[in-house]
Symmetry: C2
Subunit: 414 residues, 2 copies
């Protein structure tokens, strides 16, 4: 049974975190974070599909692909170190080398992450001072994890950290031991599903084979982070990493089976929470939008239909305005690139205690505008569509399009 617990990246045994104010770009707040495990970790990752990959993405991809293990992560906010060419890559190497020296680790056991403005190089003197502060401040407390989750924020309005616990057989197989999975993420703008779409760092004390860890992550991301869109822009820096250090003392997961399934279920639950939190905190957002598509002929079609709706500027603006202009949902389903007979779908505006079917039999139905206005005023606006074509389903998450989004992104650099 999966249990929600307090904390974030230090909820799992053997993980430490730290943050500091390095004045990379922001003033008067922490802007660098470090995660470190007491022992080496299996590492899995999923990265942006953008052809212009930021330097830290290139650095981490190589470690995940070739080394498959790591022990620390150094992250900064304010500058993305993207579109910075060879110089940007050299900065990643220098960052990792500096941290490795202080933490007494091999250089390629240090992952790096950056988020912020595309183009500028990092101020390496400040980065190096920051690494010194971070290495001296590592702590296993929940407070350290929370501070780290705040340090990686850019336009996020709330920090995002989550943790779960579940049970697996112990190494000797004689009892059950608690296994922990925690994480922090940031993401508010430049968010669009295509691989993962933000920075997210997960830690677990689960003992699990690296290949299985990667498999579970790659599968779970399809139904969680990849079903999220804030603004349709796939970032240059998207990075999702999970570090597993085995400190829980569980029977190591070396093949698929009940233990793997339990781990994957917990991983899905955590990633889903993180995805919803990022959608709700989309730049300028006042509503989370959830679009569930059922009865699709294939899983992929269900995903494409659901994503098309949460990506629609017109649907997003309508949710902002609280205007149940529901024809726009049909329009967005119609251009999703999935073939269907418009006479088949049935589409609902769904609430906790009341719901409205607003499209059926190929036509928009008359509906009670007052009920619709109540449902559209909810913090989470939920649509549900039954395609009546099969048994596959998918859910996508997004947020409304607001004046504040335009303001934030009209002048992001200053």
């Amino acid at each position: 049974m999966i249990r929600k617990t307090e904390g974030g990246v230090t909820a799992a045994k053997g993980f430490l975190a730290a943050s500091c104010a390095a004045a990379i770009k922001y003033q008067g707040r922490d802007d660098m974070a470090m995660i470190c495990s007491e022992v080496p970790c299996a590492v899995a990752g999923v990265f942006t599909s953008n052809r212009v990959k930021a330097a830290p993405v290139q650095w981490d991809m190589q470690i995940v692909r070739d080394r498959k293990s790591a022990q620390a992560v150094v992250v900064n906010s304010g500058i993305a170190n993207a579109a910075t060419g060879e110089k940007g890559l050299a900065q990643c190497e220098e960052t990792a080398a500096r941290a490795a020296e202080l933490l007494q680790l091999p250089r390629d056991a240090v992952l790096v992450g950056s988020t912020g403005v595309i183009g500028p190089l990092l101020p390496m003197d400040r980065i190096c001072s920051g690494i010194g502060m971070l290495a001296g401040a590592l702590s296993s407390t929940a407070e350290a994890a929370t501070a780290a989750s705040r340090a990686i924020m850019t336009t996020d309005t709330v920090n995002k950290e989550f943790a779960l616990a579940f049970d697996l057989p112990s190494a000797d197989g004689k009892s059950m031991v608690p296994v922990h999975l925690g994480g922090m993420c940031k993401g508010s703008g430049m968010i669009h599903p295509n691989m993962c779409t933000m920075l997210a760092y997960l830690t677990t004390d689960c003992a699990i084979d690296q290949a299985l860890l990667q498999r579970a992550l790659s599968e779970v991301v399809q139904d969680t982070f990849n079903m999220l869109s804030v603004d349709g822009d796939t970032s240059t820096n998207d990075t999702l990493l999970v570090l597993a250090n085995g400190c829980a003392g569980n029977r190591s997961i070396a093949q698929e089976g009940a233990d793997y399934d339990a781990f994957k279920e917990a991983l899905y639950a955590l990633c889903r929470e993180m995805t919803r939190a990022m959608a709700a905190d989309g730049e300028g957002a006042t509503h989370l939008i959830e679009m569930r598509v059922r009865g699709a002929d294939t899983k992929q079609h269900a995903r494409e239909l659901a994503k098309s709706v949460v990506c629609s500027s017109l649907v997003k603006a309508m949710v902002f305005g609280g205007d149940a202009n529901c024809g726009r949902i049909l329009c967005a389903l119609g251009y999703a690139g999935v073939d269907f007979d418009p006479a088949l779908p049935e589409v609902w505006l769904v609430g906790e205690k009341e719901s409205i079917c607003f499209y059926s039999g190929g036509a928009v139905l008359d509906f009670d505008e007052e009920t619709a206005a109540r449902l559209m005023a909810a913090k989470e606006v939920r649509f549900d569509c039954d395609m009546h074509m099969g048994a596959e389903e998918a859910t996508a998450w997004g947020c409304d399009l607001t004046h504040e989004y335009v303001t934030i992104n009209g002048d992001y650099r200053s």
Copy 2:
């Protein structure tokens, strides 16, 4: 030589237009328009690729596909007659039948078009009264064409009509005769390239074979209307029609060759003007954005790269804010789905008298912020990217994302 001329849909010989206030949804303005030719016309069309096709789109598609000729068009604004099922189709038939009776034409010689809110049915009593007024008011004057172009507006802030003249050999081959090509279009929101993306009606007195007319239109649309995006939403109602009545007296174009090329060149020039006008008048827009991609390996890749940039919410918001956050251009090129080496492209911010190269050699360059601010303040903000991969090029058009767009679409129905 192609010459710009005054007028719109009545610039070509033998075409009449009319408009009237039928109170479909708007009050105190014209909201229905009619175009009619004195003689039967070859008709070609391109329609929305949205799976949910509005009833008038279905009606017109059948005429273009099966009958290939028509003589009149009836258009209303305010209600789109989309997602209206069988009842909506019956309304198209009734509209065409009523107009046909008054104009003494076969019913399937009457094309119909609607634009506005998705979902509601048309008020047929008002539509029928409107048709009566239109049939009684048909005129070949430029004023009638202008009034028609105003009647089809929804959130458009300016009416859009254009006309060109060029010369072709006369029917007897002994001299050159002037041929006219005019048109009107509307489109401001729910505009995204995938087939055509708005209502556009072109008229020409050119004598041309219907198959060639369709071929020219289908080809030209790829580099004009399909390279336009206001908000990424492909409408249910997109319709582009061209009616050719042969009244110019030119040697009929029955095969490819110099005459066909001259006609196609004029058609391209007209469609390009219309596309730019719609981009500039995008909902809430304060700037037109033009993205030219050169040196691509294939034409399709050039189109995809250019479109990705004009569709990016972050690029659009940055143009609104006048902030030369040029890394976002690279980001949007990177997620266009086209494979390229990030070290190759060279990207420019282009003005009439000065230009800035802001990306080259895989990195964002230092550039003069004052010059950039001047270029970003222009009414038309132009980017130019050389991919250094080949010789193909394409241009896409869009507009900035503004507070006004959000306001317009937060409460469109009221």
